[in-house]
Homo-oligomer: 130 residues x 4
DNA sequence: GTGGTCTAGACCACG
DNA sequence: GTGGTCTAGACCACC
């Protein structure tokens, strides 16, 4: 379902949060979907259950999932999800662009990079259609 | 010359690195410029000299400055500066755009954000000119 | 008859207790009324019968209902009901007000909040009458 | 500085959060005040450092404090504090009043309770003045 | 079985 | 010395 990158310098729990965030906000896990249990996912990734627990706690505080005692964790309703997701991302994006401006990176260079990133995505879809 | 934001979650030495990076790559500190001495800057910011030392070490490793024993640290030649600066930034930028695509953020939304960021900058300059 | 909110962080059995408490103390279920059977209610809410059992046990311990073997659970006499209900609530209320005072919340602000809450209620009733 | 109530059924870390929240929002710890270090406070209360760590994490996420690596945790600026504090409290208060209405508790009874709570406070101050 | 809390003890990065 | 992360293992409440 998800995997870890031990080369990544960020803490493990943050990687887990990140991974699920993309799955949920991207729509791969619609509202109501049950997440893997704390213990099971910990076993699969061969890390400590507490670490998963912490990741889920973070996701809960961001309103993306909710726990039901004795049953598991589930994806929240779409309203919360969309609100949280894009807002936070855009803020991050803007501050990076701001930094780019300070470094005197050409505006058109940034735009062309976006173009190529999104074009790749389109090509992928085209390939599947063929 | 530079200042710190203690609310910022990043380590202090990283903030110092960041600040000088912008000044150097942005062109505000041309090649050959002498950086403030470790001790003096530490006093001004009222932090530990070790912290400044570490920041300068990092800048040196990135090829942005070079030390001259007994005299201080100086900004490197322009070639190094440009190479280091934009390359690293663009990589960071691309990976963030990639993330945005995963979250299904509209491409045009990102571009419009860049537009508004850079436009603000232009307006600022215009105001100063007037 | 009653329903559950899985987004609610409290345990399910506590929600069930809460719901019946309001119905009984509020007067919607007068003394002698028969509660739904454990099995039936569990089926309706599609949860484990043990959970309902525990909720009824709690209500019994608080003196709000009493079981008759082989026949079901029934609402207690009015004396018990009133005594239990308001006393516990007022204690909870006072401790919250105490906390508000510690946070330096304006007394009049609290009173105005009460006003608006109860006014809404009155309006609701008026609307129904119309 | 703060103490624990082991009779309280809530988790320890939540009690710690609560205690500091009152101190900070109530104004007893103005912006910039340093909180006790994680280890030291853990020793004083004779509980595990992780538990304090978690409490501080929660306070940070609510914007009430911010950590500086290698230095300690500090109280945030007043803006955040006030915004977080009263808003959350009032929401809690309203939902309790709502519950009271459902239980058909007399509105005037609630108001008189508030009166007596706040009057006590006033008397305290009067005593000190004398 | 599930999530939630806590302890004990360890290691790391930062200052 | 500070905070931040992680592991191992335990106990509880809930379903």
């Amino acid at each position: 379902m998800i995997w870890l990158d031990y080369q990544d310098r960020r803490p493990i729990y943050e990687q887990v949060v990140e991974k699920f965030k993309v799955l949920i906000i991207g729509g791969a896990m619609p509202a109501g979907t049950k997440l893997p249990s704390v213990r099971q996912l910990a076993m699969e990734l061969s890390i400590n259950p507490n670490t998963i627990q912490r990741a889920y706690m973070e996701l809960e505080q961001q309103g993306l999932i909710y726990p039901v005692k004795g049953r598991g964790n589930f994806v929240s309703e779409k309203d919360n999800v969309m609100k949280v997701g894009h807002e936070a991302y855009l803020q991050e994006f803007c501050s990076l662009v701001e930094k780019g401006r300070a470094l005197k990176v050409e505006k058109d260079l940034l735009i062309s990079k976006i173009d190529s990133c999104y074009k790749e995505g389109k090509d992928d879809r085209d390939k599947r259609v063929q």
